[in-house]
């Protein structure tokens, strides 16, 4: 648990009335790595991301992000992080440039015009940067969401389903961009995704969640080998359905926890 980890989570839980959305999970993510939270709907991925961002108060446990405790120390680190999710939007009536200007100022970006010009070039926003965001296609909006998430050159990028509802070509383009951003900046990326191919390609660490619990973890290759499967998708299905060797590993993880 040192400064080499971008995220450290210990015994984190979140309860909504009778529902335990996140149940005593612990993990750490090394700086400069890309990790994924995997799990079916309602597994607790978005709830976990929300707590890491300081948007949601945990019911118990500890979170340290970029050496600051969350949520208490969030204003020490929020300008070094950023976030994108299909559940939130940037204002549709504003043009892309206006949105980036507003968020750039919120994050205190120095030389903002230059940064917007860089993002315009890197994310190919030129065609539509002066159009209202609401008039753009799903693929274009995803690029805008990514530009907003990168406006402050974040050290930690949290992405909730970054390629949801994108065509394969745009999805592949986004994944390539994330790879190059991490390589160039040394940033840490944590994503929640349902796209197993994406996770296999991008991630050094996979955290498997089911019903609020962290049931397994490892590199994609380790998980595939451990479950005796060919792809991460098959591992995901084993864990989600409790088939194959999933129950054995889940029981072992429960005992360790």
């Amino acid at each position: 648990m040192s400064g080499t980890d971008a995220i450290m989570v210990g015994h984190l839980s979140k309860r909504f009335d009778a529902t335990l959305a996140v149940d005593d999970i612990s993990f750490s993510i090394a700086r400069g790595s890309t990790a994924a939270l995997l799990g079916g709907n309602g597994a607790g991925k978005t709830t976990t991301l929300s707590m890491l961002l300081g948007l949601l108060d945990p019911s118990g446990g500890e979170i340290t992000v970029l050496d600051s405790p969350m949520p208490a120390g969030r204003y020490r680190v929020l300008d070094r992080m950023n976030f994108s999710s299909p559940y939130v939007d940037v204002p549709h009536r504003l043009t892309v440039r206006q949105n980036l200007t507003v968020f750039g100022r919120l994050y205190g970006v120095a030389t903002l015009k230059r940064r917007i010009a860089e993002l315009e070039q890197d994310l190919m926003l030129g065609e539509f940067i002066d159009k209202p965001t609401g008039s753009l296609s799903a693929g274009q909006r995803t690029r805008v969401a990514l530009a907003k998430a990168l406006i402050n050159r974040p050290e930690l990028l949290l992405l909730d389903e970054p390629t949801a509802s994108l065509d394969p070509d745009t999805g592949d383009w986004v994944r390539s961009y994330l790879e190059s951003y991490r390589a160039a900046s040394g940033a840490t990326i944590l994503l929640a995704s349902h796209n197993m191919g994406e996770v296999e390609r991008l991630c050094d660490l996979v955290l498997m969640m089911r019903r609020g619990r962290l049931v397994d973890r490892g590199t994609p290759a380790e998980l595939i080998g451990r479950y005796g499967r060919q792809t991460l998708e098959e591992v995901f299905l084993d864990i989600a359905r409790g088939t194959g060797r999933a129950d054995e590993f889940i029981a072992r993880a429960d005992a360790a926890q």
Partner: protein, 272 residues
Amino acid sequence: MTDLAPAITGSLRRISALVLRHVYVLRTSWPRLLELAYWPVMQVIVWGFISTFLRTNSSWVAQAAGVLIAAALLWDVLFRAQLGVSVSFLEEMWSRNLGHLFVSPLRPWEMVLGMMCMSFIRTMIGMIPAALIAIPFYHYSIFSMGLPLLAFFLNLMVMGWSVGIAVAGLILHYGMAAESFAWVSIFAFAPVSGIYYPITTLPEWLRPAAWALPSAHVFEGMRTVMFEQRFPLGHFFAAVGLNLVFLALAGLAFVLAFRYARRRGKLLAMGE
């Protein structure tokens, strides 16, 4: 002091970013600009004609010809100030932008100050055309009231902000189900504010409720200025004191609602 300066600069930059976000929307939408001025102008036109009629039929109005127009304009200051805060907040809800705002370094109190700034801008856009129209049409300039006008204006702005902030807290707590409070809540204060009639018109049992409102002191003060040509310091200080209480209570309501939203995970989920 050296630590404080960057913190203040950062806050001002974030508040100005939020204001800029709303100015961008207004700048590119002439229907919105028109709508801001439409109702205040209509109010002045209607109350202007009523005043013209009553001037020859009511000895009370005849003593101070502009009293109803001034009242209509000042009531609209209160209404626009409240609406300015509430609508700025609703804009973030409608655009599902709250999550983005609260994962940025923007503090909740900076958001509140940003909404107050927008409320001032929206109110001025609405009130200035209405006040100017009254001059040629009804030969009444509210600006002739002089400095007391500033005192009344500021007190009504602050009361409008308080109600707007409390409504934003309600929306944060109850979600879009509470949206209608943004449009109707201020009218609950209208009957007991004595906008167009003295507070003595109200039944005696209702008067304490009126005197607990800053707006009642403002409208009573306005009539004192217009009928007696003197500035009633008592009403002024009562309005200021009550406004401080209103603002503190509204701020507390917003903070509690924000904490509730963070506990319940509403900041990410809110929107249409």
